[in-house]
């Protein structure tokens, strides 16, 4: 019993060390910009850089649109598959996994060929079009995470009975999805949204090849040319990530609790 407890603590401490030592080292390094003393100079430089603000804002806006597009595509699809076409589920799951095995660079070159300024759909002929293409590309990249999150959420509710209960009360498909299904898988959607946000904020390949002023290319440029600022930026990104996760935790408290199972 005592030996078991020792090993449990040992494994826990090893895991914690694996996680915290690089983090502490990065924080420590990010504070050493001024020779001989700890300071927040690296953070001031990063946060004061107009490029940082512009690229970060751009990526945040792209992330928000990507999440909206992802929700619009994935929620009705996952719902319909679960309700009416369960036999297609393995095929749809396979399709949603494709972005994991097809490198982003392949997808983006495909886009450039398909949607160049001389093509019938010249997305790349304007900034707005290129931004839209970036959002579409990111929605595809985030598909495996968004689909799985929503599908897992749908698994926790009795989709068929809730749908039928709403239908018999006079609701159409729009009302059913907006007022019954979506609110009951909100936490799952938020998890998918968070993962999408994380992917979009750090993504480099698509943004760089589509020549978009996103945070990923800025980050890469900074890492290539500076010493302390990238460490500060990593810590900032870490804080944003944890902030998002905390937000999901807070929001989940307001989520409806499922009571569809009979006692």
């Amino acid at each position: 019993m005592k030996s078991g407890r020792f090993w449990a603590w040992f494994v826990f401490l090893m895991g914690a060390a694996y996680f915290f030592i690089p983090l502490i080292a990065t924080i420590e390094f990010s504070l050493r910009m001024r020779r001989g003393v700890y300071s927040f100079d690296a953070y001031k430089v990063v946060l004061g850089d107009s490029q940082f603000q512009a690229t970060f804002m751009f990526s945040v806006i792209v992330a928000v649109f990507t999440i909206l597009l992802g929700v619009l595509i994935v929620v009705p699809t996952a719902y319909w598959i679960r309700l009416r076409l369960p036999q297609l589920r393995p095929i749809v799951e396979f399709i949603t996994l494709l972005p994991l095995v097809i490198p982003a660079i392949v997808i983006v070159f495909g886009y450039i060929r398909m949607y160049g300024s001389n093509s019938p759909l010249p997305f790349l002929g304007s900034n707005l079009g290129a931004n839209a293409l970036l959002v579409i590309g990111y929605a595809a990249l985030a598909l495996p995470y968004m689909y799985r999150a929503v599908d897992t959420g749908l698994r926790t509710i009795d989709v068929r009975t809730l749908t039928e209960a709403a239908q018999i009360l006079g609701a159409g498909w729009g009302t059913i999805i907006a007022r019954v299904i979506l609110p009951n898988v909100l936490i799952a959607v938020l998890s998918g949204a968070f993962l999408t946000f994380a992917i979009v904020i750090g993504e480099f390949t698509m943004a760089s090849l589509l020549n978009r002023p996103a945070f990923g290319p800025y980050l890469q440029n900074l890492v290539a040319n500076r010493a302390y600022e990238p460490a500060a930026l990593s810590i900032i990104a870490f804080v944003i990530t944890w902030g998002c996760m905390s937000l999901i935790q807070i929001l989940s408290r307001f989520a409806p609790k499922s009571a569809n199972r009979p006692n």
């Binding site: 509710i157 009795d158 009975t161 809730l162 039928e164 209960a165 709403a166 239908q167 018999i168 009360l169 006079g170 609701a171 159409g172 009302t175 007022r179 019954v180 609110p183 009951n184 409806p256 609790k257 499922s258 009571a259 569809n260 199972r261 009979p262 006692n263």
Partner: protein, 354 residues
């Protein structure tokens, strides 16, 4: 019957090569409470789902209030439904759940609020308006589901095994509540159940289903006392089935294990020499020859089970075994296994099964 309110005409439903409902016909009068009773897989829920619009019949038609609704979508039928699994929306409060159909139907908020309060009073849960479904017991959830189904004033109420998920005590009180609300509102209701006691206790009429067909449609009294088929007789209540041979069709004489019983007027269509299945309810049989009973059979006590207030006795009569209950009397010892015994009954209580 007066002009039927719900008419199910020659309805058939097949899933691929499997036919689950075959030539189902039923007329339901306005305000009538009809139960579909049958074992799992008999097609009762499928018929209900076709009335609701969740399944489309492969053939036949469904008419409500003189209007053919066979091809209408569920949200166009103005039908209320209560599900076995409650199906309350977990993200909405009790009041919002009840108001859901009213809101979807475009009722102004003050009117909807008034109707919700009315419904909560009706199910005697006015204090629960702001609770969420997970904060309620199973019985309370099902009463909310009933209120939600009734709130938009549907033309027809469908109840799909609404009591199956509840414990025995709640089941009994809720079924009485459902019946009293149904009577008060006069709403035409179809109730699906596999529980015969439930169906017998609250229905105006029962449709006993088997193999996708209605075996018999009748009042609970008719179904219990005059079952039309062997299946109905066996499914509803406990039944002793005896094999008999017609010895004299004209005078109604039947032989059971070399003993003769007279069943005058009950052998319609049977010829001398035919073999029949005869049925007797346990409550129609007495141990020993009793005054008023015009038929008797002799046998041997095969089993005795002491159950407290009653003693269940099984009497072997040749190859047949007859089960009957006698009240426990502290001054009379129970029968002894192996003793010879007579059973008596009124020949009028004996059913001939076809």
């Amino acid at each position: 019957m007066a002009e039927p309110f719900l008419s199910i005409q020659h309805v058939r439903k097949s899933f691929g090569a499997t036919t689950v409902v075959e030539d189902f016909n039923l007329d339901v009068a306005p305000g009538e409470f009809v139960s579909f009773l049958g074992p799992s897989g008999c097609g009762k829920t499928t018929v209900l789902r076709m009335v609701a619009g969740f399944e489309e019949p492969s053939a036949g038609k469904i008419v409500v209030g003189g209007k053919d609704i066979t091809r209408l979508k569920p949200n166009q039928r103005n039908v209320g439904m209560v599900f076995q699994a409650y199906a309350l929306f977990p993200n909405l409060t009790v009041a919002q759940n009840i108001a859901f159909g009213l809101k979807v139907g475009g009722m102004p908020k003050p009117d909807a609020d008034r109707r919700v309060a009315e419904m909560l009073d009706m199910i005697k849960l006015p204090q629960m308006a702001d609770r969420y479904p997970y904060q309620l017991s199973g019985g309370q959830q099902q009463r909310i589901a009933l209120a939600r189904a009734i709130a938009p004033k549907p033309k027809l109420l469908l109840l799909d095994e609404p009591l199956s998920a509840l414990d025995a005590k709640v089941r009994i009180s809720l079924r009485e509540e459902i019946r009293s609300i149904q009577k008060k509102l006069g709403i035409t209701t179809i109730f699906v159940t596999h529980d015969q006691e439930e169906a017998l206790s609250i229905s105006d009429r029962i449709a006993v289903m088997y193999g996708g067909r209605a075996e018999q449609v009748g009042t609970p009294f008719e179904i219990y006392n005059r079952p039309a088929t062997k299946f109905v007789a066996n499914f509803v209540g406990t039944l002793n089935v005896l094999e008999g041979k017609v010895t004299d069709a004209a005078s109604g004489k039947v032989q059971v294990n070399s003993q003769e019983v007279s069943l005058k007027g009950k052998l319609n269509g049977s010829k001398s020499g035919d073999t029949l299945s005869l049925a007797l309810r346990p409550e129609a049989i007495s141990l020993g020859r009793q005054p008023g009973h015009d038929a008797s059979l002799s046998g041997e006590i095969a089993e005795v089970h002491f159950l407290g207030s009653v003693i269940r006795v099984r009497v072997g009569i040749g190859g047949n075994t007859v089960s009957l209950d006698t009240f426990n009397n502290s001054t009379t010892p129970p029968p002894v296994v192996g003793d010879k015994a007579d059973i008596s009954f009124s020949s009028g209580d004996m059913l001939v099964l076809h």
